[in-house]
Symmetry: none
């Protein structure tokens, strides 16, 4: 990996997460801690980041508010993202839906991962594009402006042509009775197609979405292989899902 490339990656991470730990960086990129420190020092001299003990901060972080946590339950989503990423191996074909949890996953992908990601979500695609080693396939069709993903028969047809290894669904609602449900007809059609085109189906859901439901059903519980929340797998809330044969992480 080239020096500039590495620094671009660091900068990207800093701008996304507002902070970065040199320890986690040197695991991600797989270089010595010294190299990371030298990179951070250079970036700091160019005024791109603010160097602090143990890592670096984004410049915008210096300003007023303290946005990272709380508001969008970002911390929980990061936990979920980490678990999800452990399921991805080099060379895989990965289908993803849209949504903020998926976005968090996209941002946290380790840079040395080589895989092919397929999606119709514009924000997710933007993240995948920044990644140095990921091939990106964009599913085309009409764009739904409020969900920022491509929807329509063309998109569904394209997804059906794919045979992906794994599929990650940002989940708006899941419960025992209705399975996974959502409130946008077109998004539901897409997610159905994605599930059919994948060997494994993984649902990402923050705990507050568990045991809630929405008007339209995407699929019954049996169709789900893995469920990921920010809670430990043995949390009592998740027990019924484990009992239903779903692997819970």
């Amino acid at each position: 990996m080239l020096k500039k490339e590495r620094q671009a990656y660091i900068l990207h991470q800093v701008n996304l997460h507002n902070k970065v730990l040199s320890s986690s960086l040197c695991i991600d990129i797989n270089v010595s801690e010294d190299t990371i420190r030298r990179d951070l020092q250079e970036l700091a001299e160019e005024g791109k980041v603010i160097k602090v003990h143990g890592g670096a901060l984004s410049h915008s972080f210096n300003d007023v508010h303290f946005p990272s946590n709380g508001v969008y339950s970002q911390h929980q989503k990061k936990t979920i993202a980490q678990k999800a990423i452990s399921l991805i191996d080099n060379g895989m074909f990965v289908l993803t839906s849209g949504g903020t949890t998926i976005l968090e996953m996209a941002r946290s992908l380790p840079p040395q991962l080589k895989a092919t990601f397929i999606s119709g979500s514009i924000p997710a695609i933007l993240e995948y594009m920044h990644h140095p080693n990921i091939d990106v396939i964009l599913v085309g069709d009409r764009i739904s402006k409020n969900s920022k993903i491509t929807v329509g028969t063309e998109a569904i047809a394209k997804i059906k042509q794919v045979k992906a290894d794994i599929c990650f669904l940002g989940t708006n609602a899941i419960d025992l009775q209705h399975g996974i449900t959502d409130n946008d007809w077109e998004v539901v059609q897409l997610k159905k197609a994605m599930m059919e085109s994948s060997q494994k189906v993984v649902c990402l859901a923050i705990a507050e979405k568990v045991n809630t439901f929405q008007p339209i059903q995407i699929a019954a519980l049996e169709k789900i292989d893995i469920l990921i929340t920010e809670l430990p797998p043995d949390d009592p809330i998740l027990k019924p899902y484990t009992d239903a044969g779903i692997k819970v992480l």
Copy 2:
């Protein structure tokens, strides 16, 4: 293998993968590392790539690309954008390529315009998405990270299905002898398809691109209907194009 040939290959690799290692290049092409370095140096001096220790990077890495022209030439591009927009009427189907000039046009679209825009350029799509009255169709396929547009046979096939009213091409080089030319093979294929699918073909080019050429031809001059630059239509530089039957704005 000829020098020019080699450099075109290098450029293509950079445009595809965003980076090249000089070590891998000299294995691929089977020349000494010195030759590669000299090629990279030349390309860097022409501003085609950014040379770094160990290889070269595409411009999209460096945050802002200053195209030899100190001030971004944004003013010229705004002028071009205004002229281009005057060609769009309500209800039209509009095909657009990528590039900064197209982007400037996308930003300047009047909010009451109701039309359908079709493109594979991610930055352009982002602009269209923000527009209140425009329907956006995204052409899907593999994403070229450097040019940030979708490329590949799927994308071309989709474009060929379209019958658009007008097509706007961001133009890298145009001259009397070679017509419009470019340096990325995959982008060239796309632009060709777009021209064939449109009733009218409009080229947007800042004046410094006029009377220059690149290795790969997109189309001869005769295929162009309208040429837009920031200069007044009667500027002597543009006279030969008017004589060739092109409408110049």
